[in-house]
């Protein structure tokens, strides 16, 4: 882990990139264009998929360049990334499927008139 050269330039570039993604997210979040907000794709709206992907890109930027995963040995990097990505995807998939099922069942019993 010898760091002879300085990474200041790269750090500011990553900051600009993360800021840009955040600005795009905020603009989309405020505008909520109907064409992507109201169209469903694989269980949720296209807009939500865009948010999700942009979030993962941001997470990648932070982990790789700020947390220096890029400079760690491949073994350590894989141990960290694969473990968490696998476990989180597994948990999220199961819970969201279950939540969807509960919602389907529950909605037929919920009364919206009196």
């Amino acid at each position: 882990m010898a760091h002879a050269e300085s990474h200041t330039g790269l750090i500011w570039k990553v900051f600009g990139f993360l800021s840009l993604i955040t600005i795009v997210e905020v603009i989309l979040g405020i505008a909520k264009p109907e064409s992507i907000h109201l169209t469903k794709f694989l269980g949720t709206s296209i807009l939500n998929w865009i948010f999700l992907i942009l979030t993962l890109v941001k997470a990648y930027g932070i982990a790789w360049y700020f947390m220096h995963l890029k400079q760690e040995k491949a073994g350590l990097r894989r141990a960290i990334v694969w473990t968490s990505v696998f476990l989180i995807c597994y948990l999220a998939t199961l819970l969201l499927i279950e939540g969807n099922y509960m919602g389907d069942i529950l909605s037929s019993y919920t009364k919206w008139t009196y």
């Binding site: 476990l87 279950e98 009196y114």
Partner: protein, 327 residues
């Protein structure tokens, strides 16, 4: 055996894990990663639970854009802006942190000190912003009515925008007094303290104002908007009203599902507590830098380790931001 036991004669001592550095990472850094992974899974558990309930109540969950609409010093409906500001603050404090780590690699004590200080200030601004967000959420914006079965109904004007109870409710002359300890009923409290109006006042004012409409929590999944009731339906709903709610806490939430408030307090609170501990640890490291501890040690690895934690807190916020405010 030697691979797994730290021997006493290892030159670096047992505390730093001996000579062996698995995966080229020092003992302290490796342990920080262990902690981060387990903490990441804890946060995923919370967020996945939030997702579970969100999907369960997909047709009646509060719409975040209608909940978090406050900006300091400006009145009006400004969704997202403030939380976007908070996100920038946290990303920026991550940048100053990584700059401190970078300066540490070059043994530049002055720069490390400056960047650590900026990181701490960024953290404090974020924490203050979060406290302000909480204050607004707890205090509420419009106020709504709770029905017998726990559903919330809100009031909108002719254009479909939500209006505050104060805008149309006329106070009648009944004097209401909150129970206090002295009259022996301290345990009987309105869930959110003494509500600003009585149910009766709200219902009567609604009937006197033909411009005001009633909105239920139910979301039209085609348009993703809450359902506005006709006058006749509204009167039937109001007949079931049991309480006036202003603001949100763990028991009631004027914006809709109480679960939303519970998750909001729990997840942003847990994250805020991480930021708080991060600031404390940063302050300790900051003083160590000033005192020259790492200069004497010959490396600034402690700054790097606390930096890992700080970036992780930022990383978690990226996800909280997405799932609470965007999706």
């Amino acid at each position: 055996m030697e691979a797994t036991i730290a021997t006493e004669n290892a030159n670096k001592g047992a505390w730093s894990g001996g000579e062996k550095e698995p995966l080229g990472s020092s003992y302290g850094k490796m342990m920080m990663w262990f902690f981060i992974i387990s903490d990441a899974l804890t946060f995923s558990g919370f967020l996945a639970a939030y997702g579970l309930m969100r999907f369960k109540f997909l047709d009646s969950w509060p719409i975040a854009d209608e909940v978090f609409t406050h900006v300091p010093f400006i009145h009006g409906h400004y969704p997202m802006y403030y939380v976007a500001f908070m996100t920038f603050i946290l990303i920026f404090s991550s940048v100053t942190m990584v700059l401190a780590v970078d300066a540490g690699h070059h043994m530049k004590k002055g720069k490390v000190t400056l960047y650590m200080l900026l990181t701490i200030i960024g953290g404090l601004i974020f924490l203050g912003s979060q406290a302000w967000e909480w204050k607004n959420f707890i205090g509420g914006t419009y106020g709504s009515l709770e029905l017998q079965d726990g559903k919330m109904v809100q009031f909108v004007d002719a254009s479909g925008h939500q209006i505050a109870l104060e805008d149309f409710v006329v106070r009648s002359n009944d004097n209401r007094v909150e129970h206090t300890k002295s009259n022996g009923l301290w345990y009987v409290k309105d869930a959110a303290g003494l509500a600003p109006f009585t149910v009766n006042e709200v219902v009567e004012s609604f009937k006197a104002n033909p411009d005001v409409s009633l909105r239920t929590e139910q979301i039209n999944l085609e348009t993703k908007e809450k359902t506005i009731l006709s006058r006749a339906e509204a009167n039937q709903f109001l007949a079931k009203a049991t309480g006036v709610v202003k603001g949100a806490n763990l028991k009631v939430n004027e914006y809709g599902k109480t679960l939303f408030a519970d998750f909001f307090f729990f997840i942003t609170g847990f994250h805020g507590f991480h930021v708080f501990s991060g600031i404390l640890i940063n302050i300790i490291i900051f003083f160590n830098v000033i005192l020259g501890t790492y200069e004497r040690r010959g490396h600034y690895e402690m700054v790097e380790k606390v930096g890992l934690y700080w970036h992780f807190v930022d990383l978690v916020w990226v996800f909280v931001f997405t799932f609470f405010y965007l999706v």
